[in-house]
Each structure stands twice: as structure tokens, then as C-alpha cells.
């Protein structure tokens, strides 16, 4: 939370501060609220213009909820979300339904599952022009021109204009989804696991496309993923989430090679690198992921942490800046960050085989 407060510069496309989303749990005779699932519990981060911030974590850590909160597909319980588009700053957390319509031109979303994120009942042109229609592009011919343009941009043959999603492969569908997201020229794209449902070969196509689009249109990505290999490949910076909290952020390379949080270390150690020569010893975490409706006292990770001490069980660590532990600033929420020396991701593979 300190981070956003300290440096608020016009280069920041997205600023999130102390974002919370608590889902009520109702039970009992009168369905009274008896507790809450703290899906996102005080998250702060920002995305710089033109960069890709990866939000990583295991399933249920709250990263998808965070993504949806930013675009107000869900309403936050607490916190501020600012999206900056040129001179305009949208306080997403408190916009009315009417204002949101305008604000969403600045930020769009790409979904994980290309089978579910496209209406099976609409043709490609219908799907891509939907945001155009809804945002006042009245002329049909203008719309079609724009759709064709977008199809070019994402690499879809224009003759598929009148096809339905079911006629496309997963990769192509994801391209359609990307074209839809681009239709209104947003500044920020929240990409929620955009490639995890795709085959590896197609994954590469889409990742390349996302990178190309970023450089072409100056997009900023909030890239939500659980796949650290993909994250390593595409992101500028990484934020690691664990049970509703961000436990560590940093520039990608820095974070991968020198993790500061034991959870990041465990995550990195588990990456199966496609190289039979790499023989890493992965860290097996004890126990289960904490229950977000009954988070443990102290550090949320302490029950599974091999390094946990008394302080970890009692005090909640704040996300703090660690200087001099890398080329850029690092933030971590660990009491012991200064004491521990943690292992990074596997060493670079030796030489590529022929054709590499």
C-alpha cells in the first residue's frame, strides 16, 4: 500500500491501492452473515505504461478476482483503483454504471477460456463489433472496416468474418477475444490466464501476438497466470500472490533469480523446466493452502513456511521495500527477508541443441 502512495507518476496506467474483496458467508436460521471469504485482502500494485505486470499465484489465491475487480466486473469491498488514459484518470472503484461504460474503453480484458468467452451464437464480426456498437459507432460500414482492421492486427484471415466461434481452433478464438479487447483502443489489458487453455505451440503464437501488440500500440498488460515459465517469458515485473495478499513484487529476472519470499522460492523450485539435464530439487510445501475465510494469524504463509519463526506466527508482515537486493526496487512481505538467502529458478540450460 505504501508503494502506490509514494510514487504516483503519470506513467502509471493502473494504480491499485489496498484493494479488498470479501465474499460474505451466510448461514444459520435467518441466513445471517457468519463470516467472509477474504478473496482479495488489501492488495496494492501498479502497472507502468507499456509494461507487463504479471500476477502469479496458485489457484484460489485471488488473482482472477483481482483482475475482475480492476475492471469492475466485481465491485470491490474496499480500496482504490485508478486507471489513467492520457489525461483522464478513472477512479474505477467508485464509478457509476454509466461512467463505467466510458471507463471501460480504457481498459479491457482477455479471458482464460476461449470456449466460454465468445458467444457461440455470434459471428466474428458480431463479436468484435459489439463493443463498437455499444460505444456509439453507429455506421455499419465503419464498424466492418474496423473489424477487418482488427482481424488483420490479430492475424485472422478476413474471409472468416462471418464464421461462428465453433469453427475456430482455440488459438484462433483467443485471437478473436484479443481483437474484441482491442476494439476500443484501450490502454490497459487485463489478461486472465490468456494462454493456459492452449496447446504449447499455440501458446507461443498468442504470446508472440501479445508482445507484438504491446509494442505496436503501447499497451500495458496486467498478465494473470499461474505458469511461471510463461510469466518469465512475457512480463516486465512480477507480483506474487498468496491467499489474497501480494507477498512479493519485483522485476522479473531479479525476482526469478533472487526470490525474497519463501513462497516465491517454493514456486520457482517447482517449475518443470523442459530440460532433462536440469535436475532441480523442488521444495515441497507442507500442509494445505490457507483457508481464505479463516486466515491464520501472523504471516499468512507461516504454517507452510520452512523458515517460520515466532514473529511470523504473531505479526502480519507488511509489504516493504528492500533496497540493494537487485537492480531495481523489490517489495516483499516477509519478516525474514533480510536474513534469508533463497534459491532462484534453475540455472540457464547449457547450449541449445541443433536448430535452437
Amino acid at each position: 500500500m505504501a508503494e502506490a502512495a509514494v510514487d504516483r507518476e503519470p506513467t502509471k496506467v493502473l494504480e491499485v491501492e489496498n484493494l479488498k474483496k470479501h465474499f460474505p458467508i451466510k448461514a444459520g436460521l435467518l441466513r445471517r452473515q457468519v463470516g467472509q471469504v477474504r478473496a482479495v485482502d488489501g492488495v496494492s500494485f501498479h502497472v507502468e505504461a507499456g509494461e507487463t505486470l504479471a500476477l502469479v499465484g496458485e489457484s484460489g489465491c485471488g488473482k482472477t478476482t483481482t483482475g475482475r475487480l480492476i475492471l469492475r466486473a466485481l465491485s470491490p469491498t474496499e480500496g482504490t483503483i485508478l486507471i489513467r488514459d492520457g489525461e483522464r484518470v478513472w477512479p474505477m472503484h467508485r464509478l457509476t454504471a454509466q461512467e463505467l461504460r466510458s471507463a471501460r474503453r480504457s481498459a479491457q480484458m482477455i479471458f482464460q477460456d476461449p470456449f466460454h468467452s465468445l458467444s457461440p451464437r455470434m459471428t466474428v464480426i458480431d463479436i468484435i463489433s459489439e463493443p463498437l456498437i455499444l460505444n456509439g459507432v453507429r455506421s455499419g460500414s465503419t464498424r466492418e472496416r474496423r473489424v477487418r482492421e482488427l482481424m488483420d492486427v490479430v492475424g485472422l484471415p478476413q474471409q472468416y468474418l462471418n464464421r461462428y466461434p465453433h469453427a475456430f481452433s482455440g488459438g484462433q478464438r483467443q485471437r478473436i477475444g484479443i481483437a474484441r479487447a482491442l476494439a476500443l483502443n484501450p490502454k490497459l489489458i487485463v489478461a486472465d490466464e490468456p494462454v493456459s487453455a492452449l496447446d504449447v505451440s499455440i501458446q507461443a503464437q498468442i504470446l508472440n501476438l501479445l508482445q507484438d501488440l504491446q509494442s505496436e500500440f503501447g499497451l500495458s498488460y496486467l498478465f494473470i497466470s499461474h505458469d511461471l515459465r510463461v510469466v518469465a517469458h512475457i512480463s516486465t515485473r512480477v507480483a506474487v500472490m498468496y491467499v489474497g495478499h501480494i507477498v512479493e513484487t519485483g522485476v522479473t529476472e531479479d525476482l526469478f533469480t533472487r526470490p525474497l519470499h519463501p513462497y516465491t522460492e517454493a514456486l520457482l523450485s517447482a517449475i518443470p523446466e523442459p530440460d532433462p539435464h536440469v535436475d532441480s530439487e523442488e521444495i515441497v510445501l507442507a500442509g494445505e493452502v490457507a483457508d481464505p475465510s479463516h486466515p491464520p494469524a501472523g504471516c499468512i504463509f507461516h504454517p507452510r513456511c520452512a523458515y517460520a519463526k515466532k514473529v511470523c506466527r504473531e505479526e502480519v508482515p507488511s509489504l516493504r521495500r528492500i533496497e540493494g537486493r537487485g537492480e531495481s526496487s523489490r517489495w516483499v512481505a516477509c519478516h525474514l527477508a533480510d536474513e534469508l538467502t533463497l534459491r532462484g529458478a534453475g540455472l540457464p540450460a547449457p547450449q541449445e541443441s541443433e536448430g535452437g
Binding site: 448461514a27 444459520g28 436460521l29 435467518l30 441466513r31
Partner: protein, 327 residues
């Protein structure tokens, strides 16, 4: 779970109140009252009624009161377990219903048994051999049962029973046994009669159950755990009955509660046509003759059973399906 049940029971109270109110409105909705139909009945058989006497009767039975007063009187007594007295039968409603209850439940249970055995067997068959000729045949037969109007089937079977088997129709017993105490002979006599209603009522129910069973089972057969069982080397029949069948039958088991009201009402039309000594004809007659307390008592009883049945279904579902139980 306990709070869940308590909450459901708690919800039942307003529901039943609304139902009781609606029941009463429904009974009051047709113009006239019991005496109107009583007079019509008398004059149809040639009697001339004395209108002065009729007014006096109306006062005796409280039918001259406004409807909300009648409702209040009725419901306040109902709550105390006093269902009132049937105008027509001159007997307390409770007694009247009680008298016919045993036989009604017996027939319903028998029908249920018939329906279930047939429906489950056919349903399983047609799911396992989906799109086979056998599937098409049993499906068609099942639908045929659904499509044939019950009362028609009842009439035709009644005639066949009379013509071919020489069974004295109307009711469940031959005249000689009607009031006789229970003996083996009376039981045999009952069994001679009871197949007609069982088949007639059963066929309609069977068809839909076949469909449900087939659809459920088909859904379950596609589930990966069936492959798991197969991969374990479990014999096919065992894999079928231990896993998908058990899961597919869950929605079935949970409908047991829904049958509760059906146990009492039976299939009204069929029981009227066959003149069964069950509650169905009683009910039908009560509605027709506007025998208010009898009709109201039965209506409320059915509604209560439905609501309890629903609750029972849910509890039963939780019992057979651990997933629901732990939610």
C-alpha cells in the same frame, strides 16, 4: 444440517398458512355452497325442497357467515387437529380420511413398487443400450404409457377385466368381501382387483421415470469415474450398479418425499373411474359437492404432505449424496 432442517421447518409455517388460505379461497371460488349442490341433488331426484328449511340449514352449518369468518373458524380448528365434519357423510373428516387411508397407501405403495421396478429396469436397459433397437422399443412403450389418457386405460381395462376375467368391477373387492374381516380369501380377492389400478396408474408414472432414469444414467455413464472403475478392472455390471447407477438413482430417491402426497391422493381420475375405496374419489366428490371441510381437510393434508415431502426429499438427498450433506 440441523440448522438447515430447522430453517426449512420454520419456512414451512408461512408457506402452509398461505396454502391454507389459498385452499380455502379455492373451495370458496365456485359459486354456491354445499347446500346449493345438495338442493340440486335433491331436486334432480324429484324432490321439492323447502327453501325456508334450506336457509335454516345454512345457518346451522354457518354457511351464512362471511368467508373470512368461515376461514378463521376452519383454520383455528384445523390447527387444533379438528378437521370438522363432512356435510355429506355426516362423519368427522378425520375419521372419513382415516378409514380409507390404509388401502390408499397400500395401492400407492404397490403402484410405486411396480413403477420403480419397471422403470428402473427399462431405464437402465435403454441407457446402457442407448440408440439400440431395444432402446427405441422400450422408449416408445414408455411414451405410450405417458400418452394414453389414464381414464381411458382404466375404462378399457375395467371392461377387459369384466369380459375376459369375469372380475366384478368397481372397487377393490367383490361384494362378498367388501365388509368382511381380513382373511386369506379377502387378500386374494384384493389382488384380483388391484392389478388394474396398479397398471393404469403405474404406466403413466413409469414412462416419465424411465426417461429420468435413462437421462440420469446417460449423464453419469459419461463421467470419468466410470472409466476409472473400468480401469480398475471392475466387472461391467458391478461398475454400472456400484457407481453410475447409484449416482443416477439419487434424484430418484429424493423424489420419494414428493410421493408422499401422491400416496394419499392417488390418481384421482383413475380411482374415480374404477370406484376405488381410496381417498381419491372421496376428494373428488367433496370438491364437486362443495363439502367444504372434507375438501379443505384433504387439500390441506395434501399440501402439508407436499411440503413435508419436499423437506424429506432434501434430507434424503443429503443422506444419499455426501456432496449435498457437506454443503
Amino acid at each position: 444440517m440441523a440448522t438447515y432442517i430447522v430453517r426449512r421447518v420454520f419456512y414451512m409455517i408461512p408457506t402452509l398458512l398461505v396454502i391454507s388460505f389459498l385452499s380455502f379461497l379455492i373451495m370458496q371460488a365456485p359459486p354456491g355452497d354445499f347446500l346449493t349442490s345438495y338442493i340440486a341433488e335433491l331436486s334432480a331426484s324429484g324432490e321439492q325442497v323447502d327453501l325456508e328449511l334450506v336457509e335454516s340449514l345454512r345457518a346451522t352449518y354457518g354457511l351464512d357467515e362471511p368467508w373470512y369468518v368461515q376461514y378463521w373458524l376452519w383454520i383455528s380448528r384445523f390447527v387444533r387437529g379438528d378437521f370438522g365434519t363432512s356435510f355429506e357423510w355426516n362423519v368427522p373428516v378425520r375419521e372419513l380420511i382415516g378409514q380409507r387411508l390404509a388401502l390408499t397407501i397400500f395401492i400407492s405403495m404397490l403402484t410405486l413398487l411396480f413403477t420403480w421396478i419397471v422403470a428402473l429396469a427399462i431405464g437402465v436397459y435403454s441407457a446402457v443400450y442407448q440408440y439400440s433397437i431395444g432402446d427405441y422399443i422400450v422408449t416408445t412403450i414408455g411414451f405410450l404409457g405417458l400418452a394414453t389418457p389414464n381414464f381411458m386405460l382404466a375404462l378399457i381395462l375395467m371392461y377387459i377385466a369384466f369380459q375376459v376375467f369375469g372380475i366384478s368391477v368397481g372397487g377393490l373387492f367383490s361384494p362378498d368381501y367388501t365388509n368382511a374381516p381380513w382373511t386369506w380369501g379377502k387378500f386374494v380377492d384384493l389382488m384380483k382387483h388391484v392389478w388394474i389400478p396398479v397398471i393404469v396408474i403405474g404406466t403413466a408414472g413409469t414412462a416419465s421415470l424411465i426417461r429420468v432414469m435413462r437421462a440420469n444414467l446417460l449423464d453419469e455413464l459419461k463421467k470419468p469415474y466410470v472409466v476409472t472403475a473400468q480401469a480398475k478392472g471392475v466387472p461391467a455390471w458391478r461398475a454400472l450398479f456400484k457407481y453410475p447407477f447409484r449416482v443416477a438413482i439419487n434424484p430418484f430417491l429424493s423424489t420419494i418425499g414428493w410421493l408422499l402426497p401422491a400416496l394419499i391422493s392417488g390418481d384421482i381420475i383413475v380411482s374415480v373411474v374404477l370406484s376405488l375405496q381410496t381417498t381419491g374419489p372421496l376428494y373428488y366428490r367433496a370438491l364437486l359437492s362443495q363439502d367444504m371441510f372434507l375438501a379443505g381437510g384433504l387439500l390441506m393434508l395434501l399440501a402439508i404432505l407436499t411440503v413435508i415431502g419436499t423437506l424429506l426429499s432434501d434430507i434424503l438427498l443429503a443422506w444419499v449424496d455426501p456432496r449435498v450433506r457437506y454443503e
